[in-house]
Subunit: 450 residues, 2 copies
Amino acid sequence: MGNADVIVVGAGIAGLTAAREVTGAGRSVQVLEARHRVGGRTTGDTLGTGAVVEMGGQWVGPQQTEVLALLDELGLATFPTYDEGHHLTIRDGTITRYRDQTFGMPEASLPEIARVGEELESLAASVPLSAPWLTPDALALDRQTFAAWLAATTDDPEAARFFHLLTEALFSAEPWELALLHVLFYVRSNGSLDNLAATTGGNQEARVVGGSHRISERLAEQLPPGSLQLDAAVSVVRQRDGGVTVTYDRGEVSAARVIVALPPTLAGRLRYDPPMPAPRDGLTQQLPMGCVIKIQAGYPTPFWREAGLSGQVLSCDDLLGFTFDNSPPDGSSGVLTGFFEGAHARQAAELTADRRRELVVDSLVRFFGDAAAEPIEYVELDWMAEEHTRGCYGGRLGAGAWTAYGEALAAPVGRIHWAGAETAEVSNGYMDGAVRSGRRAAAEVLAANA
Amino acid sequence: MGNADVIVVGAGIAGLTAAREVTGAGRSVQVLEARHRVGGRTTGDTLGTGAVVEMGGQWVGPQQTEVLALLDELGLATFPTYDEGHHLTIRDGTITRYRDQTFGMPEASLPEIARVGEELESLAASVPLSAPWLTPDALALDRQTFAAWLAATTDDPEAARFFHLLTEALFSAEPWELALLHVLFYVRSNGSLDNLAATTGGNQEARVVGGSHRISERLAEQLPPGSLQLDAAVSVVRQRDGGVTVTYDRGEVSAARVIVALPPTLAGRLRYDPPMPAPRDGLTQQLPMGCVIKIQAGYPTPFWREAGLSGQVLSCDDLLGFTFDNSPPDGSSGVLTGFFEGAHARQAAELTADRRRELVVDSLVRFFGDAAAEPIEYVELDWMAEEHTRGCYGGRLGAGAWTAYGEALAAPVGRIHWAGAETAEVSNGYMDGAVRSGRRAAAEVLAANA
């Protein structure tokens, strides 16, 4: 194989953004991607109705300025997530319709939910994004789980339930799987809890016309010919004699530097020669991915809209915990997307595909009525089973890990640089974070005069 | 490469015991070992005085019947760990000498320490070793950290400190890094807290003449010629057409079945084709190894014995938290072994080797007097930096992981079977557990008529 100035491992948004920056600065790049497609945790599908659906990450919000600017550069448009009508919250068999900031939680618990949220925000404000381990009282904040903090912070079972649900929605993980410090970092990194949770005005505000996977496809199309190899799973990264050599399925490629743009847990599975320093290796031993199965159910029309419903559901009762209206921009057909998350995703994964579909349809009928009973199309993606992702939305740090290993998350190791949404200071976990991380890693490489 | 009936990945005690069982049943085996030596987490060194020292796992106890029987079969003798004289506990600058069950903790806290221990033992008694996830109230026990349980269980800071210290000693990890359920399982798996902690009568009772690495060396010597390849790091395990093919550094080998006898986190770094089912993959994402640096300081004589000291120290004040007399059986020279564990190991790893040695010597002088100031030899092994182990003593499960992923720990995946101390029901984490796991995996393979 030929040589390049820089090798990028992983053709998701982070890796391809890094490659774009590197080639934009006049350097050559070789991007190696394990899959037969680009996009990483973004990938699309087209339903029989012609509706494009996003099977992975899909939304962008107004604070996510880097991905918005990139969309502009790439000539990709956005359109608003459908956010009209009433949302639903399902709790103990009761369906609550709402159109405000209450999330359909009981009136009596709203002040407590607000108080807990404010306490979280106030703690989050103290996290330095470039070094969460330097947060005042970092050890104490890190060595407790978010679940333990919640239990100590509120006696209101409805408030506890709300933050449990929110944790699943935001992290695809359970409150005991996350350090409090990780939650605080994530809230700060993404502006606020409101920003994380909101549709209009927040991180779920808009979708990409043609699907979010178009970002990576466009980025790939614009790379110089021959810069990208698909079906090229990397196995070994060697640093030697002032350069790096990367071994992949069909050969080797050499460069001055490499950007590994994989989720940290997968980056930890590569073989490095010389081996990774212990703190970096230890980090990758304890940054597991979230658990999610995403589904899309297609209907002839977005019939729930006529009933005054937004399609947005939070359910405490169902394995399918969250849904959104995911219809095409013109509403020419109806699509509901939904998520099994955290423990629910693990449970749902044990079912047969038929039984899981039944379960989804049962839930959708409960949420939206009998018209939901016969989707004309149903697709799903179990991200835990994806060999080259192994979970979504992203990696998380459990109790104690940020203060013990956090410094190794983005710090280059010799000629190896790290990108990916987990390594982003701002918009961590999101496409915007992926873009930022790719730019940061490319800047490191270019500054080092690769 | 030639074929064999069974492939074993990893020539530690678990893998080599499995290989012995397989060849004992008349089947052929091919053992692939990444290192240039056998033994895995057991390895020896010889000091200038001729004293053999164990740089990894070293002790066996009276309840560890499988490893004791194997030692007999292999013609290896044991000798008692030096356990005479007074032990020392260092706390807030005070040195307490003791020769009883008090661990040198303050008199006033002993009843509370006993009460907390009894509570732990009583909870541990409810853990079914073959399925910890079926423990009564498993979810609640699993979803809290051991640290959180300790904080909720005792207000006595000395009792809390004692169990913190004990956690580091037993797990090379911190109380917030472990689920309560993991601690309970471990206590039950190893008989009792007393058994875990005790020297005479417990898991530290005896040593192997010639060093514990002799177990693996003998096992390897007794394999049929050509059954073992060193320097053979495995990268890919393929299941296809009723067999398995394993790719390693210099080629491929095929067999009916494979036993992967690596710590789970390292097993998770191999590439599997077809890919691992999600629960198994998820497990290996969250079973990080403990952190430990083990040191040996050699002296002309075991001078502390004359001062009436056993050489056994627990220190709350030092990074070097634990020491033992590790002199040769005849006491012809003196050796002290010591451990940096958990957070202390990570801290100590950041120092230069010289500074770390100074720190060790300072601690040993504080413990044993000026005679400790000039060791004639000093060796250390940072297990975190070992590419083919990545931490010791073993893997642990954090909050929520046993109930979410535990079933995948030892369950075969098609023709792939799992061995290693982490997969043992009895003596989990110890050499005895490694032997048991190797026998169990071999029995699975033989029962499947490999």
